[in-house]
Amino acid sequence: MTETNQAIQLNQVNYSITGELILKNITHSFPTGKITTLVGPSGAGKTTLFRLCNGLISRDSGEIFINGKSIDDYDPLVLRQTVGIALQSATMISGSIFDNLALPLTLKGEQLSEEDANKLLELVGLEKSLLYRNSKDLSGGQLQKVSIARTLVNEPSILLLDEITSSLDRVSQQDIEKLIKRINENYGTTIIWITHNLKQAYTIGDYTVVMMDGEVIESGPSDLLHNPKTNRTKKFVRGEIE
């Protein structure tokens, strides 16, 4: 066990694919109950970090602690329910919105009531009339909201969001930003949010972590993006590294 005021603690974590090091000796902590934004150019290893924390892949070396408990001590299924993940692709199973919202419970052999499904839609700001609509008929913004609601069914204490607003219009982006703030405030859920939108990272995040080439370059309160200390972060903020 380790410090429990840290939702996720990474200690000298390395991960490679076919010999290429994707994450290099990452040591970092994500505080419990806060919103941390994760920024960095494409190929920095941000999504890989999320996949490690959700247990979809395993590290080569180092230690990962989730809510103070080693990731190796978790049953993989319990870990994935504790650390929820929502991706930019907002993948849906074929069927209705209800089928998708019910999925986490269906997997546990339980059922989602229509009342609870409607509450979820309300929580993410979607019309109840969408409940039995086919998922193929929804817009990108609506799908993203369904994806977040579906992840929340497991009541994760940590929510990982991977570029969930990058393909959305301004209004949908703002809707989702408000939704995430609300989830964080109402449920105390730890949020870690990968975004390419630096303004969003600054406004929504309590903390920001900058990653490049598989390393954490800089981290601290979100205003670090206004006053970066390292040259690489300065270049990234100026848009010279993409």
Partner: protein, 260 residues
């Protein structure tokens, strides 16, 4: 039929070779190889069968069946190299098919336990099971590659590997067995089955030939569903590791997106 009449039938090999040459299909070499191989293989099998039938020794019958299973496994395993332990999974599938079908046939006294019945029926069952296994493995690996997001979605929500792969498994079992079921719907209307035609040409009573053909059709139905389902349920666990993660061997496409 004798060797003289058989040699005259080579005109049916000559026609495609000429057409291939004229139309520049470049199939001449393959056609000749296929012809030579089929002549050599079938004649060899014919003489081996004659020996086995004459001897009526169970050991030889068993050896023939083992040979069929080895050949079928060797052929089908090429389509499932990405699945760990595919060789023994195929062997188990073919042995199960053989044991199930022959137990029922012999147990109910449908056929006598002689080489004349056991070997051709085993050949048809194992051969069909091999084709079904290849169809299944082709479809299954394609389904996994193209639905990796959906599989990982279910895993990421706390689903088990079996739940994550269920749709792909069912789709693959259905896709590989549908041709067998569909072909049986039109049998006799569009084409006469090869075995039945062979029996009729050889002078058998057409009704007797039909009865045996029906027996084979029913056996093929069992073979189709049991082969795909058994191979599927034997195969899917090896796509995941002990941490219930989808293995990278199958998911080669992930390496491009994983770094972002």
């Amino acid at each position: 039929m004798n060797f003289l009449t058989l040699s005259l039938s080579l005109v049916f090999v000559f026609i495609p070779i000429v057409l291939s040459k004229v139309l520049k299909l470049e199939l001449e070499k393959d056609t000749i190889i296929a012809t030579v191989r089929s002549v050599v293989q079938l004649l060899a099998v014919g003489y081996v069968l004659k020996f086995v039938f004459d001897s009526e020794n169970m050991i030889y019958i068993l050896l023939m069946i083992i040979l069929m299973i080895v050949a079928a496994t060797h052929n089908a395993r090429k389509k499932g190299t990405s699945i760990k332990g595919i060789t023994w999974k195929l062997v188990v599938t073919f042995i199960t098919i053989e044991v199930v079908t022959q137990t029922i046939l012999l147990g109910f006294g449908i056929i006598p336990p002689t080489a004349q019945y056991l070997i051709p029926i085993s050949g048809m069952m194992i051969g069909n099971s091999m084709v079904l296994s290849i169809l299944f493995l082709n479809r299954f690996t394609a389904e996994i590659e193209s639905n990796q997001d959906a599989i990982e979605l279910i895993l990421s929500l706390g689903g088990t590997p079996k739940q994550a792969i269920h749709t792909q498994l069912v789709n693959s079992i259905k896709a590989s067995t549908i041709p067998t079921i569909e072909s049986q719907k039109t049998i006799g209307l569009v084409q006469l089955p090869g075995m039945m035609s062979g029996q009729i040409i050889a002078g058998a009573d057409p009704v007797q030939a039909v009865l045996f053909q029906l027996l084979i059709l029913f056996l093929l139905l069992t073979t189709a569903v049991v082969s795909s389902a058994l191979l599927g349920f034997l195969s899917y666990p090896s796509l995941f590791n002990e941490r219930k993660q989808l293995l990278k061997k199958i998911t080669t496409s992930t390496s491009d997106t994983e770094k972002s």
